[in-house]
């Protein structure tokens, strides 16, 4: 279970002349409970705080106030050396894929298992399965720059699944994809959710969110303004 309690995130911004310090509120007193196995869409316009919400979850930065916990583990006060351990339990799919350019598709996925100390035979067995799941078996030896956007995003997804995460975060995963590839990716996310993984999908793509027909949380200027059980994208 993921629990946000009055989570607030503020970014300091220097004035144009470097003078008065202002603060931009990215998340404003967000309290949110997400049960294990849920599929939740976080919607809202650019800058509404969707990415920030996800970033707090994989400890890219701490909340300014309030707390965030995963299965009772309060990650607000996480120590730097614990962060890698946390991240090995949370798969993240980014809008810009964030693939390692110097490594092949296979190696990118394998890397996620290597960092967790998975034995080599297991990596050799699991990675092809993951690539098959995302329909990339043919591309195993290609480098990221040889892939189309859809293939790159599916590689990113396969990597996110490599350590069998309990939670999968997808930050605008369809942002760089055409409608067809976006649809494919969504089907994969739903399939993964069916297998028991909690999925958080941040998106401003109306068609995608409407197709999911699951819980929708709407953010506006950092605040949760609406929650729907099986909602559609509404602002």
């Amino acid at each position: 279970m993921i629990l946000f309690q009055h989570a607030t995130k503020m970014y300091p911004v220097r004035g144009a002349q470097g003078g008065t310090k202002k603060e931009i509120v990215a998340l404003d007193d967000v309290t949110l409970e997400i049960a294990t196995g849920e599929f939740v869409s976080i919607v809202g316009q650019s800058g509404a705080g969707k990415s920030t919400l996800l970033r707090l979850l994989f400890a890219d930065e701490p909340p300014t106030s309030g707390s965030v916990s995963i299965d009772g583990w309060d990650i607000t006060t996480i120590r730097p050396w614990q962060i890698p351990h946390l991240r090995r339990q949370i798969g993240v799919v980014f809008q810009d894929f964030k693939l390692l350019q110097a490594k092949t598709v296979f190696e990118n996925v394998a890397f996620a298992m290597e960092v967790g100390g998975a034995p080599t035979p297991e990596i050799r067995r699991v990675v092809p399965q993951l690539l098959k799941l995302v329909n990339l078996s043919e591309n195993a030896d290609q480098y990221p720059w040889q892939l189309s956007g859809g293939e790159a995003q599916r590689t990113s997804l396969a990597r996110a699944l490599a350590f069998r995460p309990k939670i999968l975060l997808a930050d605008e995963p369809t942002g760089n994809l055409d409608a067809l590839h976006a649809w494919d990716l969504l089907q994969l996310l739903l399939k993964i959710n069916k297998l028991g993984t909690t999925v958080l999908l941040a998106s401003h793509d109306e068609a995608i969110v409407n197709a999911v027909k699951r819980r929708v949380v709407t953010l506006e200027r950092g605040k949760v303004v609406k929650e729907q059980k099986t909602g559609t994208y509404e602002l």
Binding site: R87, F94, L100
Partner: protein, 304 residues
Amino acid sequence: MNFLAFTRALRWGLVHYWRNIWLSLAATGVLLLTLAMLALLLIVTVVGRESLKAIEAKVDVTVFMADTATDEVILAIKADLEGRADITSVQYVTKEQALATFEAHHRANPIIAQALQELGENPLQASLIVKAESPQAYPQIAESLKSPKYQPYIGKVTFEDNREVIVRLSAVLRTLRRIGLILTIAIAAIAVLVTFNTIRLAIYGYHEEIAIMRLVGASPWFIKGPFLIEGLLSGSISALLTLLYFFPFVRILSSRVSAFVAGGQFDLARWSAENALGVSFLFLVSGILLSTVSSWIAVRRYLR
């Protein structure tokens, strides 16, 4: 870092070195140049040191003893001088030895031989040849010989004739050493900075990859490992290449410079053979340390 993580770092380090072979060769090349600079510095330092030593060894002071001085007195003074810390050696030349040397020297000149015969007795003085630790010590030594304890037995001290030359030489030598040291430090610093910046730039190209590795949950050591292995590889390759050319180069150089250095007394090739182990160690350690420490510092920046 456990064994599995270590073998993975080793493998990725090797794979990366190979996949980015041009970048790797560039880094190795810069290291090679740096080590060449250090090698040259080493040769210049050694040759310079030996040359200065040879010049210093040529300087000595002869203390001519008065005829009143008996053997015992001279030996006592010799023992006194040898007891001083700033004196390295004292050689006693008796009247007879002085005469023998003189005769040997002028054997070809019958007039001098005849003059000596006519004199009937040995006109030469016994003397002590004093060599000091450094030229700076001679004024003090000369001063102490003027004490009343020695004065009655001492005729002439050659130092007074050469005072100007010795004092000036010692000043020149001191300055040369200081300049040498400063140059050595400056050149070494430049070499280190160039290497460090090259490696830093090479790793800068990876800062996004490093950020991604962190997002995927790689621990700092898991990220650092391959970079350190790559550094180790460039360091050892450049050090081994340096060793490959250093000794043949020194051998060729030796025959050309030994005539100038220390009046032919110093054999550079023999020096390098005698210190081969130390020199090899020096190059290996500086090559490896330079590249791995640079990599380490460069990567660390992106791990904060």
